[in-house]
């Protein structure tokens, strides 16, 4: 068992190490010291309770985004629509958060969370339903829905739900009611605990329920699943809806626990990170937690790195792409590390644009 766990950790750990090494070379090529840079990054993400809080806050939407991608992976679906689903989740959670008042927290907060999750589930479900009925590939549809969601949330926060008090230039909703705020316990945001809880639920659903078995069957062999009586269309649509909901929770937690409102343009880019996280975790819901924490740490420390070592914070994106590359191409790692018998199978997705 321990050996198996060790084996499954080798690829991600080696990928992260190689990504950081090449990142260091890039930093050095810009005339900065990689050691100072990485040190500043670690200090900026771990030093005190403020830094830890930042890391946890950054990690939370990453974990949700990673879960969204990982869950869809299990059914052989590639959800690159995390960005749009996150925005939809964020704006609807904020909408319920500021729109209702006089409710006790035990009702208001869950209601706002559910509103965000549900709206995002519908958003993700559109792609799933289109795939199930017309065969439209989820990759194209979810990417297009990202742009539509960007426009839609822009409009909501600049027109019907706009905050008209004070500065009228910014497109954002009014602040949410205190009864919808997700509390923070010291350095530990409750949203982060929620992310861990959801990750465990995802694991349970996938590994211990009939539905999870069906999802994995569809991902593993569609024809065999169909012959055994699983309704592929239903599984495809519901998997995409769940995947959307997971990303939407990430957005909802951002609105209710970090920003305190929805502001257009604030959450841009968060949704794409989920892909790296999910692959780094090899689509394992529990593995998503450390992967999210790692990238969250890098992001939390990025500004200090820029300040102390004069390195553009975008280096983080480059390092993430490198990590993604090495995780996706384990052949290179195997060649470098010279270990042969692979225990974890390579990730394969359903491809083709119009096949049902």
């Amino acid at each position: 068992m321990n050996k198996k766990l060790f084996r499954s950790c080798v690829t991600p750990v080696a990928a992260v190490a190689l990504g950081l090494i090449i990142g260091a070379i890039l930093i050095a090529s810009q005339g900065s010291s990689p050691i100072t840079a990485y040190q500043a990054m670690l200090v900026g993400g771990l030093r005190d309770s403020d830094a830890l809080l930042r890391t946890f806050q950054k990690a939370t939407p990453l974990i949700f985004g990673g879960l969204a991608v990982a869950f869809a992976f299990k059914a052989g679906l590639f959800n690159i629509g995390g960005q749009g689903q996150l925005l939809i989740g964020a704006v609807f959670a904020a909408g319920v958060g500021f729109g209702l008042d006089g409710l006790p927290m035990v009702i208001h907060l869950p209601l706002a969370l559910i509103a965000g999750g549900l709206a995002a589930a519908i958003w993700g479900g559109i792609a799933g339903a289109l795939k199930a009925t017309s065969g439209a590939h989820e990759v194209i549809v979810t990417i297009m829905l990202n742009f539509v969601a960007g426009n839609l949330t822009d409009w909501l926060s600049s027109s019907p739900w706009k905050d008209n008090s004070g500065d009228r230039i910014i497109a954002r909703t009014p602040p949410i009611e205190p009864s919808a705020e997700i509390p923070t316990w010291g350095a530990l945001p409750v949203g982060f605990l929620l992310a861990i809880l959801v990750a465990i639920i995802c694991w349970f659903v996938l590994e211990r329920t009939t539905f999870g078995f069906q999802v994995k069957s569809v991902g593993f062999n569609k024809d065999a699943a169909r012959y055994s009586g699983i309704r592929i269309g239903v599984i495809t649509a519901s998997t995409m809806a769940i995947s959307g909901m997971l990303a939407g929770f990430g957005g909802a937690v951002e609105s209710l626990g970090v920003d305190g409102r929805f502001e257009a343009g604030v959450n841009v880019g968060l949704g794409f990170e989920g892909i790296t996280i999910a692959l780094l975790a090899r689509a394992n819901p529990i593995g998503v937690i450390p992967a999210g924490l790692l990238v969250g740490l890098m992001q939390a420390g990025a500004s200090r790195m820029q300040f102390k070592a004069d390195v553009a914070p975008e280096i983080i994106d480059v390092i993430q792409a490198l990590i993604l590359f090495f995780v996706a191409a384990p052949t290179i790692l195997r060649w470098i590390l010279r270990f042969q018998n692979q225990t974890d199978e390579d990730l394969k997705l359903g491809v083709g644009w119009g096949n049902k």
């Binding site: 690159i80 194209i140 829905l145 480059v318 390579d346």
Partner: protein
């Protein structure tokens, strides 16, 4: 049966074209200025889309899914812009863009063919890397230095009302693109290379038995295809916009994939589809410029993307589309 369906489709297409021409002429007689502006915008947007679609088509015909076109556009636009700004030469910038595209195409092949990485993930790596690299090396203070490509009027052709403005007084790269569309179409359906390419996408095993080097041709084609996307990136930076900005490809690499599917993986079809999508984009720009209608700009902004979703869904529903049989599969010699 099949013949009947095709001929009915053909009639439908001709009717559609006739209706479109009638509509355009109608609008032109009412407001010539705006009609010309929208149609010119259509061609401008279509050029980038068709280049991406050709890139995707060459890849998919050989059995490789390329969702990294977006990243190829972006990084090529960046290097084209940087080289032009450093040397002051637009031509060198174009070459730099093409070279970047070729390298990225080779990277895609190395991952998808050589290392047998899942092709969708390989494309995603290219996209994420392009965003990261371009923003890491982005220099806000840099400018193009020279003017972008300016229109060349093709003699008396440019004097034809409407069509002359729209098609015959364009900058250089648009003309080159139209030539490339014709060239690739002929090469794909009339040359040995084209036949072999289609063979390795449909049935690599059979192609292998008749002596086609499947993996080598896939490498070659993915690299070549990258060159087209790279040219597209150069077009974006040096002709369409004349500058580089972060994430300037703005999803058009993905739109190009929809264009490719809608155009049934043929260059001519892709150009027709690109004009259609370009029209949606140009219309959106025109609406946003002069708010003729009382629609919030955000809803107008959704137009091209919603059109894409509808088109992809419809072309799936009517079963008019069939993927190359070996699309997305790695080939291993047995």
């Amino acid at each position: 049966m099949g013949e009947q369906v095709t001929s009915r489709r053909r009639t439908f297409l001709w009717v559609l074209v006739a209706v479109l021409i009638a509509l355009v002429l109608g609008f032109y007689s009412i407001n010539s200025g705006q009609t010309t502006a929208v149609l010119a915008g259509t061609v401008r947007a279509a050029t980038l889309l068709v280049l991406g679609a050709i890139c995707g088509m060459i890849c998919e015909r050989s059995g490789i899914v390329n969702i990294g076109i977006e990243g190829q556009f972006l990084l090529a636009a960046f290097s084209a812009f940087t080289v032009t700004s450093l040397t002051g030469s637009l031509a060198l910038g174009v070459f730099a863009g093409i070279a970047t595209g070729l390298v990225l195409g080779w990277c895609l092949a190395a991952m998808a063919v050589g290392l047998k990485v899942d092709q969708i993930i390989a494309g995603t790596v290219i996209n994420i890397a392009a965003i990261g690299l371009t923003s890491f090396f982005y220099d806000r203070s840099r400018s193009l230095g020279v003017g972008k490509y300016s229109p060349i009027e093709l003699g008396s052709l440019a004097d034809i009302p409407l069509i002359g403005r729209v098609f015959f007084s364009r900058p250089l790269l648009t003309y080159v693109t139209i030539c490339l569309v014709v060239l690739v179409h002929i090469a794909m359906f009339r040359s040995v290379w084209g036949m072999r390419t289609r063979a390795i996408g449909e049935h690599p095993g059979a192609a292998d038995t008749v002596g086609i080097k499947v993996l080598r041709l896939r490498y070659f084609n993915a690299t070549l295809a990258g060159g087209f996307a790279g040219f597209g990136g150069a077009y974006l930076a040096l002709e369409a916009v004349g500058a580089f900005s972060r994430n300037m490809s703005g999803g058009r690499g993905f739109l190009a994939l929809a264009v490719m599917i809608f155009g049934r993986r043929t260059p001519y079809g892709a150009y027709a589809a690109a004009l259609f999508f370009g029209f949606a984009t140009a219309l959106q720009n025109q609406f946003q410029l002069n708010s003729t209608f009382d629609i919030p700009t955000q809803f107008v902004g959704m137009l091209p993307y919603v059109v894409t979703i509808v088109v992809v869904a419809l072309s799936g529903l009517f079963g008019s589309m069939r993927d190359p049989a070996a699309l997305g599969q790695t080939y291993e010699k047995s």
